[in-house]
Symmetry: C2
């Protein structure tokens, strides 16, 4: 419905920003442009926005209440069908939208959803796309979004319609700049599409605008391929579904290759630094021989040696069965979860801030014996990475460490020792992979395309009803789209505080892999079978039409108690 | 037709070899199992096999004639419709099949095609799958192929139905072993599925069997994702279509990421060591800013500095326009095409065979001044790779050199110099990727699935008609499948000789990227536009149903004179 009305018939214009030209799209891109998006029933008919009970916070409600005096405690809301629309008709709104943080498939559809809501329900409204992330809000850098401008981005991956950025709006000066933009453009609302930090920021902005008696409302949208922004009310962040499916396609292919060649162990590092959701979901989709889950490694206080031994044990068992090949999934953030590595990195940061790393290695004497042992255990290339790669604050850039290569070398060393001890008789060849950038900007899966469109359409409704400080929430996702619920969750209800530099800072806690949650337990019940036998699944490329096109990822279904 | 007849209704058995269990396949794998394959019309109805004129060789026909006294000069053949079948009916054949060399999507369908031909036309025939490549033929290691055994592999990627190997059958002792297997199993025919070397080998085997008056005929099939086994009669090798589409999906995603982020140059190395067909095809599918084609680098006798300057020039031009991002495609074999690098590697091989590489670098004095200059120009990590990674023959393993990382470092250095000279004012961050194993075992595209099935079905017909020393040839591929031609090309007609150790050895010359060919010229006419403007295409994941599912790769269409 909404989509068709906005398709400029045959008039495909070029975006001046980034050079998207729908008329030279690939066949699949074009077919996606024409893909129409279903909406939840509740939002297609007359509806009203109903408040729930007053909300609290995820932790330390007193501190959160102090940090958000204007918006704390406000209820979450739900859209419900009404005989006649509960919202003012004929209203004309001025709405801004901004993308914040890393790319995730579906961001363009959130924008399309907001836009279409305004076209459908608030005819004559104006929509501004702030360019390059929050900095665009502060600097007043924007583009006016029109049907022609938006059209080439429908159901397309990337964030390039208005681009994103990693700036934050957090100092008084920055809040002032944002307020100036809001006033200048006479903004009724702003939608912030981002992850946990960006949504915390959105709430601070909502608070700030309200404290200044600005009319500009702020609504957040849950974005991150990492899947670590979720709660009871916000069942998943967009982009996770598509990214995992893209990685799983590649992993599945590598598995078939491993089995066909019969001589390689593929060590696959997967994006997702803070939490291991992507790795867990990819494991559920493909059934690898070994999967490392950072949260489990941390909970069991495993050492690097423990992790290596776990891998080597499986390799030895498989070798006895004649399988000298396999596939191992590793979360990007693995070493962040290993306590002894964290200690080593902390000591290295300290030493390198004050001392020169001499070639003779005298500096090593400053390491504690435990950390020195660990350092000496590491392959030379990793030692070098730990010493060389520093961020502007002088810290080791953990994300740049090629954990998959490190593990290959440590496994090689351990296998040699077992061979000498007569405990292993196979051949080992490791191949390393990192799947990351390939998944952040793929064409959104049908689920992400539809989910994002509903998130955006719902955000429009929240702004239309005058809400602020909420995150757009679409639920009941295991049911058909028509039955999805639409509403908004009080951002403060997702928050806790962390003490930094002696001050309380509000945070939306990252949702980590729950070791007692359904996805991990399902995985844990099967992994021994996967380790020894070859139960590889090849999910294949994402299909946009046909019987497999609308399937949702396992993590979400298992968390919702549905059959995955 | 043929497919349906062989589907065991509901009886999905597990392959004892590798653990494939169709009953736990992914949704897409299952949908591919059910995908029925069209056949060219000529092979669906009564046909006859018609000889063409006597054949010659691609070069040095006298030498080829001496090397293949029994099979040289025999005609290529074509299937033509006949009122009644020209081939003996009621014949029962014993046919073996072997996979040789690296994986390519579609291999399982070649086997299915042969199998179905025998079921359809030579009821009661027996088919043997030799396990683990040519070694399986020599050692008599095989499995009897049944409908239940084959079923789970239909339209699936990988070679794991019978697995492959890289052994060759070339010494008198090895030919004797192969002949013993042929005699023991009373083989009427053997189909060798492989690349240029394997098909040369197949022809030697055909010659050897005929010279021994064995009844066993040998037919080849053109396999390689690299796309370098092709000729007028063999328009493409299978697997190329699928592999390129998988790589192009990833490249397209990385492009959208580059444009969205606006700060990374992605250096993407692509599999395909000898020829740059994969890189060229991926460029045609995605429109990267820079594409290096090895054959052009070689033809222009470019140095590593030339290549670096070419990249840096484009980066500088783009920076002026505000684009500090981009995507660069690099063929895996690039440095093999650079004459000065070849010379350096030759000198290093020589030095390392006899001398110790001392830390002080005294060994470097043995390099010629030119090679020393080049060596000193290389980043330390690459210098190390050149000195450390040797194959069992003491040679540098060129394929292991991370060319993409080398180029990033060389580009960084050159950009720094230009910055100091005031000729560049941008920011550069390189990200490296290698796409290889992900593409060799993907689910075959509709084209590869159908093409392979026809190659196999045709190979069955060739054996049924008593032919040997031919390569299965399916043509007219730009037309609908019904109009495809089916036949066999004399393998000797594709051959030339190379002199090795004072002896002539027959070779099927690898088909390199032709700088005067339609695909390269098309690319060359567009690349300047792609370099400066952002004409990125995102081909998206391979679709198996819908309007885009049957599209063929650009290289093949352009070579056939069709619209790509």
């Amino acid at each position: 419905m909404a989509t068709a009305a906005l398709t400029p018939n045959g008039v495909l214009t070029e975006s001046s920003l980034t050079g998207r030209v729908a008329s030279v799209y690939s066949d699949v891109q074009n077919s996606r442009l024409r893909h129409s998006l279903p909406l939840p029933s509740v939002i297609q008919s007359p509806f009203n926005v109903i408040d729930g009970p007053p909300s609290s916070a995820a932790g330390n409600p007193e501190e959160i209440a102090k940090l958000f005096p204007c918006v704390y405690g406000q209820p979450s809301v739900k859209l419900v069908p009404e005989a006649s629309n509960g919202l003012a008709s004929g209203q004309i709104l001025k709405i801004g939208v901004v993308l914040s943080g890393g790319q995730a498939p579906g961001g363009h559809n959130v924008i399309s959803g907001i836009f279409d809501y305004l076209q459908d329900r608030c005819k004559g409204s104006i929509m501004y796309g702030f360019r390059g992330g929050p900095a665009g809000v502060m600097k007043g850098k924007y583009v006016i979004l029109t049907p022609e401008f938006i059209y080439p981005y429908r159901n397309q991956g990337g964030f390039d319609m208005i681009c994103s950025g990693r700036d934050k709006i957090e100092t008084p000066e920055q809040f002032k700049q944002a307020a100036e933009t809001a006033l200048k453009l006479d903004l009724d609302g702003l939608v912030v599409i981002g992850g946990d930090d960006s949504n915390t920021n959105a709430c601070l902005l909502a608070e700030n605008f309200r404290s200044k008696n600005l009319k500009t409302r702020v609504i957040g949208c849950p974005k991150t391929i990492d899947g670590d922004l979720k709660s009871k009310e916000v069942p998943t962040s967009f982009g996770f579904d598509t990214a995992c499916k893209i990685y799983a396609e590649m992993i599945g292919n590598v598995m078939v290759d491993a089995r066909s060649t019969g001589k390689y162990y593929h060590f696959v590092r997967l994006m997702g630094r803070s939490a291991s959701h992507i790795t867990l979901e990819c494991a559920l989709q493909t059934h690898p021989n070994i999967t490392l889950i950072g949260e489990e490694v941390a909970a069991q206080k495993q050492t690097l040696k423990n992790v290596t031994d776990y891998i080597v044990d499986v390799i030895c068992k498989r070798s006895v069965l004649g399988y000298n090949y396999g596939v191992i999934l590793i979360p990007e953030g693995l070493i962040d979860f290993i306590p002894e590595v964290q200690r080593l990195i902390a000591e290295l940061n300290e030493i390198l801030a004050h001392d020169v790393v001499d070639e003779a290695g005298v500096w090593k004497k400053k390491l504690t014996p435990q950390c020195l042992d660990l350092f000496e255990l590491l392959p030379p290339a990793i030692q070098e990475q730990l010493l060389l790669e520093r961020d502007p604050h002088g810290n080791v850039q953990v994300a740049k460490i090629e954990t998959e290569k490190m593990l290959i070398q440590m496994v090689e060393t351990e296998l040699q020792q077992r061979k000498q001890a007569g405990a292993y008789n196979g051949e080992f060849q490791g191949k390393s992979h990192f799947f990351g950038y390939e998944g952040r900007c793929g064409l959104p899966s049908n689920f992400d395309a539809t989910y994002c469109y509903a998130l955006g359409y719902g955000a429009g409704a929240l702004l239309h009803s005058g809400k602020t400080g909420l995150i757009s929430s679409v639920g009941n996702l295991a049911a058909p789209v028509e039955e999805w619920t639409v509403g908004g969750t009080a951002l403060t209800s997702l928050m806790d505080v962390e003490r930094r530099h002696g001050k309380f800072k509000p945070v939306i806690k990252k949702a980590m892999v729950e070791l007692e949650g359904a996805p991990f337990k399902h995985f844990a019940s099967l992994r021994e079978e996967w380790a020894i036998n070859n139960r590889y699944l090849n999910p294949g490329p994402i299909q946009f039409v046909g019987p497999t096109a609308d399937k949702v990822n396992h993590t979400l279904l298992l968390e919702l108690g549905a059959e995955a």
